[in-house]
Symmetry: D3
């Protein structure tokens, strides 16, 4: 299902995610990797539309065996690179409709979507499709920002509002959901409170670094239990040193190792979908943000494989 | 009206365009420089929203005396940096309304706007405000692309449609207007023909370089005569070597010297407004595109000053 | 006092520090943000002269509420962006005189200056103005280097000598002052000893990371007590991964989170002035050093606000 | 055969050359675009191995209609993106064998290869496959360097020797071949003479700019006549301002417009294969070299289409 | 032996490593710094050939006194910058021969080589020369990858195989050697196991960060004892945030401070040679990877000086 | 006298200018290449201090045979890389003294200096040393700016005043000197007039491009006749597309080919010294400005060799 880098050098060929087969055939497929090159919801540094292309490009460095779980991911799971949703720059509603149509089709085939953004506005169509298929889902949200505003600049569907809309529309069960990694200055004291008012549990970056990753993982697992979970990672959750290439960087975050460890220890969680968002390669350096985004994606695939194998503790 | 660089070094102070006074007071003002940081109309390389900031930044290098016309521009004309129109990222209609309101106010005060983009979608609100105030105006349009599509991807207001809308809505008198610099491959044979069908005269890059700048200037001046003119410069009109920092670069264009010469020889044309568009500093190198955009702006101010002085031939 | 980013998008307008009003009116003002674009004191990687411009530019991302202190900074303190001191590139003495004149005026109006550099040579005029107004002051100095040389290359006023001159001239009370973060190879064993000989207490990066931030904060607070304090942050105090854009990077430093935590826990210290120095955007990546410098500035404003409110422990 | 950019935005999907179908099915195909990501033959600035990836990426900007020839290229010719030859970094002989095997197969199916490099070492396997199929072929070689050394540093197969080997091995008929664009300092007086000794005609950059493009085109056409031609373009033939991203830049070359004009006027020449070489994106700026390389490729496809249509003069 | 930066500013003069004398005279010399600008063994991001040049360039910032060991390195040890081995791009066997000849000569003069790469393929000639002179040596290998493959893509001498070859050829005593820092996804489960099968001890990044640097240093020292040691540092051992400029970055590594601390605590180990490898400045940012590589080199020189002085614990 | 790139690859060794021997022995030497890494005279974009290092680095690409003059430069002339003058950042007078001392020594040995800057402030010490040795000399000055101000910001010795000081101090005979390439906006009408008042002949960029290079060369040669000439090239004389990496770029200049042609046709002029100034690699792209600066240097060496051979027309 993926090009063998021991036979075909990684510099050869059109890059798909982890050199997976590029197809829209879904029979027998466990996970479909989907690019969502949309950034009209970005209020400041724009360019996440090239995220999927850059993540695919660097992801050829990644290999199929995950040593933390001692698992051959593509042996356990059939994963394909589905290509991109057909979004229209500047057109939020039309793009949402196109994304939802694509994801409804994928999910209807029993396939779990792993989406690469794009900015966080396009979290909402993912949440809608997953919620439609699975009933209210639990959210694990790793991000420097809550993205639970009612509107930003009068716009109700952009990178700052998706996780409010998801609750309001009934797709997310906030009472079993958790947001992790928030930090930075605020426009108003409501920024944090409104997440809690919506029902989310919230762990700030400072609380995370004080408590330690193990404790945070415990809280997350207790919160989501055995529910169906949507896992969202915004690249800005790590410090800008590890992820310069994002839309809204926020100084003073955890390290890449911190978040990779957190992700790996989520083994056992029942993911029905996931996203890695907000890579903006125009501000990246040495492809490090793109590589980290791709690695987050690979770790998520491993989590799904581990769950399928029934191996996780 | 501008900071004296012989007293205050150019590295000091908040950069305004050419170090002009930043004010929204319009009494006695001839020209208002306006930033329009909007790029939602960009179908490919996005980021022109930072154009006004980058142009202001490098423009501190420019000086008030224009030697080609032997004129002290700010002695003849009162020019101010008006600041930016309050556009909303992702919101085309609301942004157009805000731009039009601002420009209507400026023009109503007898002031000529010189706008820095932003992408070419926001040419339309400029055209509307100018057309509303002055009746159908003539267009001199320097660009590698005609931007006269009916729609692009089903969107009727973006960087590819403004100069069709302007004719359709009656603000541009195509029969006295001209487009110069078109080149590159086409989606359909209509791309060029539709400009001509709308009534524009059109000079391609190849025709320009074959005929020579003097001949092209002659054709432009004959076309627009003594009409009120809106002068539009898209930075992609020059070769990408001279302007790497644009949205849609097109290989094989004229040099910066060619277009500067063309602009300088337009002295005598009766400008009622002008725009310099599509600077995308995220793809720039050594600030050369930003400097060229600022220089185009300075040359346009000189044209207005020359016209005011009644000096032009 | 600052542009409301919930009404005017952050991409609009000429960037001032945190979108504060740009004015030199000081009536009722608590803190004046001042740019000092001078880098003639830089012996190696030059370019810090553009520091104030780049910090202002990225600082539009910062918001007025500081959640660590639960305070609306601009509600408690009146803060303005005063603009830049009029320094002359290459002219140390003239520039020092201009800086001192500006700061004397600011301080005489009861306003606390927060300066953005520029290289550390221009710490001296700040120290002079503050010392002149307040008597010998205490110094909290976060930096990879002591900057206490007698001269460097025969020059007595450059980025390596300010904190010796400040003691020698009587403006700094070394016995209540402390330097934190020193590391890296040395030209001579005197580099460290001379700071101690001057009377400073000194905590190296290794001592800081071994002892922990809480312990370091305790030592600092015990050292400066209730004295009037000048807080100096050189961006090179953090590891080059977090601040590539500096004059003299020094491998192996603390993280951005370490230093942000240290700053936040300084609440209660009585600041009479502060500086954030040595941002060189020409070596920056994804604007991360500029953002960190701006964030340091915002945390310092919060410290001043907390102190004004009498909230600090 | 290519994605319709009027329906699917250019930011969507995995980029193939000009959005052509990616397939290795050759039935009915006229031209196969082949990437050859090999740069072990590069003696100085290495990195051309990423050339095919970067050219594909930017080539989504190009459109199917070529206005210079007034032709819908993909209407006339069936063109596919064949993917990459499976080269092995560091292994010249094995990579040459792999390239030749792939090209022999392509040519045996009556398909013309258009190769994107990679460095000029891999011109030799192309020449061999074309020579094997078509008998001695004529060469039109646009390059700042002759690449006709006997060896460089004792290596007989690298970026400086291919066009000697091609003659020596009997695949190129030097007496009907021509090299255009040479310039720059020389290691020995033999650098130029050895090309002439091999039988090539040679036009330097200075001769080209003095004579004018029309005269040069005349000489080229007279030289190759109705022979089967291999057209080779090294990106360094243009000035580094237009193509900074190359292996060995040579100051003082022609403009992009010069070489595009030259290529367009080659209509009528009977191409059996072509290559665009030496793009090194690690030294590129704003993707301008990549765009120019892609545009050269698109112009070559147009030449093949024009020839097929029998339209050319 | 080195230019005095207190007399000659660091911006002056041709940069040698730490401004040491550039000479090939070896009488009385303790350590020779040797550049090995070879990267033909790089399967992915190529460009390490410029590593020695970039390390020398930034190394002028480093100073002769190492405060961690309180030692004046160049006072204790005579160190010279020997220049580069004469490698031939693309020619592995010839380059290995040239490197070995150079190193055999250096070692025969009783001089310890400190090599800057270049990619890890050229570790093998170093190992051969050191093994030949000193009998089987112990290896301390800091790297994200084991580099103990039998072949990669059919190539037996490249950046992935050197530490297997070294054992197989009898130069490395694996039973007293240790590899530290491994992490990341694997092509096969054998990737790790084969190192252990060869006899190496192995500490992964996760084990290192869990155990702490002190514990890791203890294990290393117990493993190598008083043997003659070759110390190898691949820049990719640290997280890409600290070293973006490498060939194959691997997300989630330790910090620069972690590895600097580890190196410093190796005082007492009996080094006979050392290497700092895989700097690829084409992907660097703000010269931080180059500075870290140079700093690693300076710390290694300090280790050798400490050992010579008999100071180490 | 220079490393043979046919034996030692250009990636090997410490880069000197054109791989010449680095020595301060002057016996029998015709030309000494001298770096002057000083940029304290730069009022805006600073960083030219790294010019000599970057020019040396890229100059390894240049080869000893100049085909335009059909001459083996190093066969005719003995040229060495003398290293750098010991300038002190920030200290204009001390640096001037050091430069003059070094150049006086070089010239006293009958050696012609070719200096690489650094900014144009350090033209003055060159002019002084040359004038002192040779009596009033003639100047050929290629630059976008006249640099003949009396002072700039009250500073009499910076990048804008050298060619006035040189006349005032009696070292330059303005009546046989010429300035070529001026363009761009002016602070005052005096900017140009003051050059003419000093006695210089002046040819603007527009006059140059209108008249053609041959005509300009004729005027230059008639102006300087058989006098002893100092040839000064400021990299900003060419368009920023060809030289983005400069201190004060000026849009709309000639091409690299234009200026290279001009230089080559100066054969016969009696040079006693020359300089290539204002390379600022921090704003360069793909090393193109550095390569052009190095190429200008190589062409100047060829002019000296041609003159020595008595070959020139």
């Amino acid at each position: 299902m993926s090009t063998d880098s021991l036979k075909t050098p990684r510099i050869c060929g059109l890059p798909t995610f982890m050199r997976l087969t590029h197809t829209q055939e879904l029979a027998g497929v466990d996970v479909a990797v989907v690019g969502v090159p949309f950034d009209t919801g970005s209020p400041y540094r724009v360019g996440c539309r090239f995220g999927p292309r850059e993540i695919r490009s660097i992801s050829v460095l990644l290999r199929p065996i995950n040593p933390y779980h001692d698992i051959d991911v593509f042996d356990v799971c059939k994963v394909v690179d589905y290509g991109d949703a057909t979004v229209i720059p500047g057109e939020t509603e039309r793009s949402f409709a196109a994304i939802e149509a694509e994801l409804d089709h994928i999910i209807a085939n029993g396939v779990k979507p792993l989406c690469f953004g794009g900015d966080n506005s396009i979290s909402l169509p993912q949440i809608r499709s997953l919620g439609r298929a699975h009933g209210p889902i639990s959210l694990i949200h790793l991000d420097a920002h809550t993205d639970t505003w009612d509107d930003y600049l009068g716009v109700r569907h952009n990178a700052a509002t998706s996780y409010r809309r998801g609750v309001e529309e009934g797709w997310i069960d906030a009472s079993t959901s958790i947001q992790v990694g928030m930090r930075g200055s605020l426009f108003s004291r409501e920024d944090i409170r409104q997440s809690i008012d919506l029902g989310y549990q919230l762990i700030t970056t400072d609380e995370m670094l004080d408590a330690g990753i193990d404790e945070v993982v415990g809280r997350i697992k207790r919160r989501v239990g055995r529910n169906k979970v949507f896992l969202s990672v915004d690249m800005d959750v790590v410090d800008p040193a590890f992820a310069p290439g994002v839309q809204i960087p926020e100084a003073g975050g955890p390290s890449a190792h911190d978040i990779l460890t957190l992700l790996r220890r989520l083994a056992g969680v029942n993911l029905v979908g996931a996203e890695v968002m907000e890579l903006n390669h125009l501000y990246d350096s040495g492809e490090i943000t793109a590589l980290l985004a791709a690695t987050f994606g690979a770790e998520i695939l491993a989590l799904i494989a581990v769950h399928k194998q029934g191996k996780a503790g």
